[in-house]
């Protein structure tokens, strides 16, 4: 079966972001970018399905500016077969991405679509669920284990109290949690090979989707800084401070 993976280019997870002085967003110029960590897990899972013989083809899709192609190349280097780039410079919000992906899915007809559970920049945690809703497909969100059982998929999910298991019909949408797998590093030969793999270019217009944002971002500010605290010298001093100064115990 064909598996489609959606990947997003975000500021690298280890970068301390800086809010722009004019309050319009965070600084992205000259900042290290990388594939969203949850998307890496999605690619890894799809590639493992191919290695196990359950997936026949893995297609990586990214929506966004020209630089998103680098992220698709990373997915190709990890083992995806080909890429699709929906190019637009419009600020993309989850509903728009879900609509773009829906249009791509209708063309490609995959049986399983894997996304990360959230992007570490907007922290929305919406796109997979929205996509499932738009397609009328089931959703296996926050997945920590996937098992294909005939024409169904068994999904172990990370929920607040522990774990939950659901069986969903195929075709389906899956979103990955951190513990689904450990993504591989792309080797140099595979990075070289990825340069020869095809990336199809599409536009929102060609897909018949209006990607304009529905949420207006009025301003972005830095959160209030915590007052720097004090180091204590001993456990006794710590307990004394907690009891008599902070009064929390």
């Amino acid at each position: 079966m064909k598996v489609l993976v959606a990947v997003k280019r975000v500021i690298d997870a280890n970068v301390k972001v800086r809010v722009k002085a004019d309050g319009t967003g965070v600084e992205t110029a000259n900042v290290k970018m990388a594939m969203n960590p949850f998307c890496e897990i999605a690619v890894e899972e799809a590639v493992r399905m191919k290695e196990a013989g359950t997936a026949t083809e893995v297609v990586a899709v990214a929506c966004g500016p020209a630089s998103s192609q680098e992220t698709i190349r990373t997915a190709l280097a990890m083992g995806a077969d080909r890429g699709i780039h929906v190019q637009t410079d419009v600020e993309l919000q989850p509903l728009a991405v879900a609509k773009l992906l829906k249009a791509v899915i209708e063309k490609e007809q995959p049986r399983i679509v894997i996304l990360g559970k959230q992007a570490i920049d907007d922290d929305s945690n919406q796109t997979g669920q929205m996509l499932a809703g738009l397609l009328g497909w089931p959703q296996g969100t926050f997945a920590s284990k996937l098992t294909i059982e005939g024409d169904k998929l068994r999904v172990k999910r990370e929920v607040d109290g522990g774990l939950e298991t659901e069986i969903v019909n195929l075709p389906t949408i899956v979103t990955t949690d951190l513990r689904l797998n450990e993504p591989r590093y792309a080797s140099l030969p595979n990075i070289m090979k990825a340069k020869k793999k095809p990336i199809e270019a599409l536009t929102p217009d060609a897909l018949g989707v209006d990607p304009s944002p529905r949420l207006k971002v009025l301003k972005v500010v830095e959160p209030a800084k915590r007052k720097s605290g004090a180091k204590v010298k001993s456990v006794a001093e710590l307990v004394d401070k907690l009891r008599n100064e902070a009064k929390v115990i």
Partner: protein, 311 residues
């Protein structure tokens, strides 16, 4: 304006997290209706009717809602949506699973994890693991919102006297089946609502060593949490995880033991009232947010702290 709040319930009671979403609804203003979906959920609906500020409780009692599968619950909410200006849920694993599906089916955007209400259409939410706060305005007719519980106080669970109205089930979407759950059992307070939390990180070195934290937690009637490093190393189950990808907590006292303080962890706990860090590395970033820092080996400091609290 009428606001529908999807409440979560368990054993005939409304879950604490949902009480915070009701407070957020009050800040938006207007009539507040609470939806209880479940199987044999009459007792939960009666409990919801007593919550202060609730105008009406809608009860959808059907076996298809027993496991709160997104496919079925979203179908129910979408059917009710035309009567409402706002649809709210708490940003728990249940709310996060269901609400974006609802939003897509209504062709509206969702505003995730709001921490403040500026006006009926404008909200503040953290982005980049809490390193920036975005003020966003929702332009759609129906606003679909998830609420970060720690951003709002809990509505009082008593004092209200709302009517309970039964609504028809929307039936089974026929897309998914619930198999079962493996829930962590704990005698301690629930992590997201605990007044005190003791959390351990990679510095704990093993799952067995978490007993040290449990002994301390018992003294403080605290919940036990963990960093991602401790969960990934298998010391504790994943639902202990505090951080950007785990639970968001804001207790009165958060004691971070053997946790370095990566930005992803800070995202989950930096709104705690008082933060204590115990770490032998005096340059650990956790000390930059800690109100009280103790540079010490946790294996001596934690038992000493437990003993000191017994005095």
């Amino acid at each position: 304006m009428t606001i529908l709040v999807l409440a979560e319930h368990h054993d005939g009671a409304v879950r604490d997290g949902s009480l915070h979403a009701i407070t957020a609804a009050q800040k938006i203003g207007g009539d507040i209706h609470v939806l209880i979906a479940g199987q044999n959920a009459k007792a939960a609906a009666d409990a919801a009717a007593k919550i202060a500020g609730v105008g009406k409780v809608l009860l959808a009692d059907d076996a298809v809602y027993a496991a709160m599968l997104a496919e079925n619950v979203a179908k129910l909410i979408v059917g009710l949506a035309p009567n409402y200006s706002h649809l709210l849920a708490t940003a728990t694993s249940v709310g996060k699973n269901i609400m974006p599906r609802v939003a897509a089916l209504l062709d509206v955007a969702q505003v995730s994890e709001i921490i403040s209400v500026e006006s009926p259409d404008t909200f503040v939410r953290p982005i980049y693991a809490g390193n920036a706060l975005a003020t966003v305005q929702a332009t759609d007719k129906i606003k679909v919102i998830t609420v970060r519980a720690t951003g709002f106080d809990a509505a009082p669970a008593s004092g209200g006297s709302a009517a309970v109205e039964t609504v028809a089930s929307a039936g089974d979407a026929g897309l998914s089946t619930f198999v079962g759950s493996e829930l962590s059992k704990s005698e301690r307070p629930e992590l997201t609502s605990a007044r005190v939390i003791v959390s351990g990180g990679r510095g704990m070195q093993s799952g067995d060593n978490f007993k040290l934290l449990e002994a301390l937690a018992d003294k403080l009637n605290a919940a036990v949490g963990a960093s991602r490093a401790a969960v990934d190393a298998g010391y504790v189950p994943n639902d202990y995880q505090v951080g950007q990808t785990g639970k968001i907590v804001a207790p009165e006292l958060y004691i971070a033991v053997g946790i370095s303080g990566a930005i992803q962890h800070l995202a989950g706990m930096k709104d705690s009232k008082v933060i204590v860090a115990i770490n032998k590395d005096e340059d650990a970033p956790i000390f930059q947010v800690a109100d009280y820092g103790l540079v010490a080996d946790l294996f001596t400091a934690v038992p000493e702290l437990t003993a000191e609290l017994s005095k």
